[in-house]
Amino acid sequence: MYILVVGGGKVGYYLTKTLVNEGYEILLIEKNPKKVAIYGERFGSVVVEGDGAELTTLEAAGAARADVVVAVTGDDEDNLVVCQTAKRLFKVPRTIARVNNPKNEEIFKKLGIDVTVSSTNIILSIIEQEIPERGLVHLMTLKHAQVALVEATVEMGAPVAGKSLAEFNFPPNVVISAVMRDGSLILPRGDTVLMPEDEVIALASKESEEAFRQMMTGS
């Protein structure tokens, strides 16, 4: 597998280092000649100087035969253009863009980027998991951005507490996928009864999220 990484900042550096050690064929494209020189000494000839958003650079880097292009610069607009150029012009099967501004994650998906990674969003959801009052935690937004994997803890006195899945009227487009109780995983069926302190993982559409949260928390 041939991987092109654009952007030699901290993320690009460690990504390249890891991938090289795992034995992948990789090329890192970085604009700053000083960095290129330093990395060249450390990694060998897997670093090349250039602007990864320019067609000529991507062409010289063999983008046409790349399996994956990963854009991890510190600027979202650069990452967008790198991925769009790789995909539309060079027909790279898989493009991954780092997204610095969390609001751009949804925008990038709408603009056709296959995979986006927003470390801010990931850290946010980890923080949220530690805050019980929040109610609903976003674990993952699925590719089409209209559905998310969410988690909520059943609270005492919540509408759903003490009821079985079959008898409770769930909002449309909510699928209960897993129930964690006392550290064990329960795969839910119609007769599974939800108890307070159960952690419920569900697939929920954007429109149904609030309704799902309310029935889990009673507020």
Partner: protein
């Protein structure tokens, strides 16, 4: 028409001024406060401080009911992203991006973005001028403006002659008049639209 402009550099400021003189409502965005000093004191439009690839900033500039959007910052990727956000996320009917890199400009033009490439325009026109000044023929005539996406409009090339007048300044005389551009579109009325030439006719 409500126009949002991203970038209050020399081009952005001038564009805002021109469009306002044409009677349109302008909102202009820049990330530096000092940039707005380029606008004339008579400017009546709205200025917004912020980065134009941020949806909140665009909303503050009224992108949600804008008719047109132009991205003329110095940075190609910013202009490209801002126009896509304006068009695909906010549904602005007409967007225009300035893209200096001819390769990128060509790609995004093919992807459906209306674009303007100063590199191509200036190099082609400069070449025409220099050849005319030296009275040399051109190996290849080139259009001096882009084809617009919807209507397949191209500006025909005019040969340019330059003559020095008494004062020593050079005036450019267009040997063939620049044709007015007509929209080739069955759905709309037959009113023609003129594309302003890059140089003035010698009267």
């Amino acid at each position: 028409m409500k126009v949002v402009i991203l970038g209050c550099g020399r081009v952005g400021a001038r564009l805002a001024q021109l469009l306002e003189a044409d009677g349109h409502q302008i909102s202009i965005i820049d990330s530096e406060l000092a940039s707005f000093d380029r606008l004339p004191e008579t400017f009546k439009g709205q200025t917004v401080l912020g980065t134009g690839i941020d949806a909140d900033v665009l909303k503050a500039a009224g992108i949600e009911d804008a008719d047109s959007f132009a991205a003329v910052t110095n940075y190609d990727n910013t202009n490209i992203m801002a126009c896509q956000v304006a068009k695909e996320i906010f549904g602005v009917p007409h967007v225009l991006a300035r893209i200096y890199d001819p390769g990128r400009e060509s790609l995004y033009h093919e992807l459906g973005l209306e674009t303007i490439c100063p590199t191509t325009l200036v190099s082609t026109t400069a070449r025409d001028i220099l050849l005319s000044l030296a009275e040399q023929p051109a190996a290849e005539t080139l259009p001096i403006a882009q084809q617009l996406n919807e209507s397949r409009i191209a500006v025909p090339v005019s040969t340019v002659n330059a003559t020095a007048n008494n004062g020593g300044a050079t005036t450019i005389q267009v040997s063939q008049p620049i044709q007015p551009i007509r929209r080739v579109d069955e759905k709309t009325a037959t009113n023609g639209k003129r594309l302003r030439g890059l140089f003035n006719r010698n009267s």
